[in-house]
């Protein structure tokens, strides 16, 4: 018995002793920007790892956009250095012999990997660790034109003859559509749930379902910039924040987000390209007529996360008062009625909020 106890103890000591010589991997399975080592010291400068543009920017893009100078590769060599894996090797030399480390950027582990064996960048399955900083108000101010006729029209009698006006091309001024173009394909859509403690009744069957208007017309929706192309047109260099100042537009989030791009609306039935009874576009007059909060927004995240709708009720009731009155009457008089003129019943089942003041 004594012999066996001694053997177990010696074996345990041997395991502990051997284990102490093993390298504990400093690398995570999924690279994280939030570890102190990855965001302090020289690594607080994003350009230490992300050089812009990467050599492969000329290749066809996964998002089908036209190629433009961009960061399109996993960090490989630190800018201005030659050699292999210089970005990571300083701290992770010992990890280069571990398969799990290779798989952070490569499709398979091994010493003889080629450019083809690199994972797509950015890797969507790793989620995003950043939120976007964007002040709408500043951008709206800078694209504003000073559309006031400076010359006062004065009536003079002159000898005149008819002359056709020169065939000048109509000048298109920048507006919201610089960034928010009409969608070419129907984006993933969902009803945006109100922030409330109330428990509404279950949603009734909705006439707005697959096959109805905004489920089959891409033009119901506007697109948002989903890569750097739009921003770089003005911010690639010299105009701050420039393309190498990542923190100028990207803020490290508290947690990794795997949220997919989904257009969430309170009023899913709204069609940006709806045609009025007169056959003319009914909603395309001017974005600012309805998207009132945007003009005063300096914080994109606050704008997105505000419980109040971006388009206030009054913006709709200006033109749709009769329809909304009808909905409101039904709400008063029909028990269990769920508003459905603007909303799907997923939202219409909630009690009418204070914001829906009838004037």
């Amino acid at each position: 018995m004594k012999y066996w106890s001694r053997l177990v103890l010696i074996s345990l000591a041997a395991v502990v002793f051997t284990g102490s010589f093993l390298n504990v991997s400093k690398a995570q399975k999924i690279f994280s920007h939030t570890t102190p080592k990855h965001r302090e010291g020289k690594y607080s400068d994003c350009n230490v790892c992300h050089s812009l543009p990467t050599g492969n920017w000329v290749l066809q893009r996964a998002d089908k956009d036209d190629p433009f100078p961009d960061v399109r590769d996993n960090p490989y060599n630190a800018p201005g250095t030659k050699g292999r894996h210089t970005t990571c090797i300083g701290c992770h030399a010992s990890d280069f012999f571990k398969a799990s480390f290779c798989l952070g950027c490569h499709t398979k582990p091994g010493p003889n990997l080629s450019a083809k064996d690199i994972l797509a960048f950015p890797n969507r399955s790793h989620g995003s660790q950043f939120t976007t900083i964007f002040p709408h108000d500043a951008h709206m101010d800078i694209i504003a034109s000073n559309e006031i006729k400076r010359d006062v029209a004065v009536g003079h009698f002159v000898l005149a003859s008819y002359q056709a006006e020169p065939d000048e091309k109509k000048v298109e001024f920048y507006n919201c559509s610089v960034c928010h173009k009409t969608a070419k394909t129907i984006p993933p859509i969902a009803a945006r749930s109100p922030v409330t403690d109330q428990t509404p009744p279950p949603a009734q069957k909705d006439t707005f379902e697959k096959g109805s208007e905004c489920f089959k017309i891409a033009e119901c929706f506007k697109d948002v910039p989903r890569n750097h192309a739009t921003c770089f047109a003005c911010h690639y260099q010299r105009t701050k924040p420039i393309s190498t100042d990542c923190a100028g537009c990207h803020k490290l989030a508290d947690k990794r987000s795997f949220e997919q791009f989904v257009v969430k609306r309170y009023s899913l039935k709204f069609n940006h390209e709806a045609v009025g009874k007169d056959g003319k576009p009914a909603h395309t007059i001017d974005c600012m007529k309805c998207h009132l909060r945007v003009a005063g927004s300096s914080d994109l995240q606050a704008l997105k996360n505000k419980p109040e709708p971006e388009v206030p009720y009054s913006a709709c009731s200006t033109c749709h008062n009769a329809n909304l009155k009808d909905d409101n009457e039904k709400l008063k008089n029909i028990k269990g009625y769920q508003c459905g003129y603007c909303h799907t019943t997923a939202i219409g089942r909630y009690p009418k909020p204070d914001s829906h003041i009838e004037q």
Binding site: P69, I143, A144, I148, F232, S314
Partner: protein, 232 residues
Amino acid sequence: MTILGRAKSGTTNIPLKKKRFYLFRGDREANKSLIDRLKAANVTLRDCFYCGLKASPEFMAWLKQGECESVHCREITQEDIAKVPEFQTAYQKGLKAFKDKPKFAPIFAQKWLVTNLEPGFRSGFYEARKTLIKNFQKDIVQTAMTDNSGNPPRGYFINIPMSAAAEKFVFTNLVPIEIGEKSYVWICEAQVSKEKIATAPVLDIDSSKLNKKCEVIVRDLPVCKAGACELK
């Protein structure tokens, strides 16, 4: 609160499109120092700003063609690049920057032209105006911009944080609006209540006809043309 974006001039209404207005808490008396500072403010006007940068007559003409305040107002076409020396210089810089990718060089030299312009021409005018607004930043409750197509254009202050059921606010455009040969800064008082949507007083360019709740700071516009930056 609704702002009707029109300046009344006699019987004529001048639409004030895409103009930003700022909201301050309190009546005009409470905002006396704001008004005094606005009266004393040294304001940069568009033509004088670009004139100070020694902008070419072609550049000034490009701006004036669309009454643009900056180069970010509309697309810069190949024709514009050929005509305007500042654009031409920036375009050449762009070609040089992407010279190792000849297929893409002309595309990005044009598409990203503003990134190669001289600093003042890129966003200098906007920055200059921002400096003026920064002086009042901490007291601004909310901002609103008038739309581009309404008759009259309208701007809205919504969900104004209120400390009582009804409160007085002052709204102003802070940055002078240029009309004809003069510039105008309106400062108006409005009562805002939780019960009813308030409509702001009419903005008249004639101070004698202006609503009692408003006052207007009128300045003559200096004549600033390329190559001749002088006051009238």
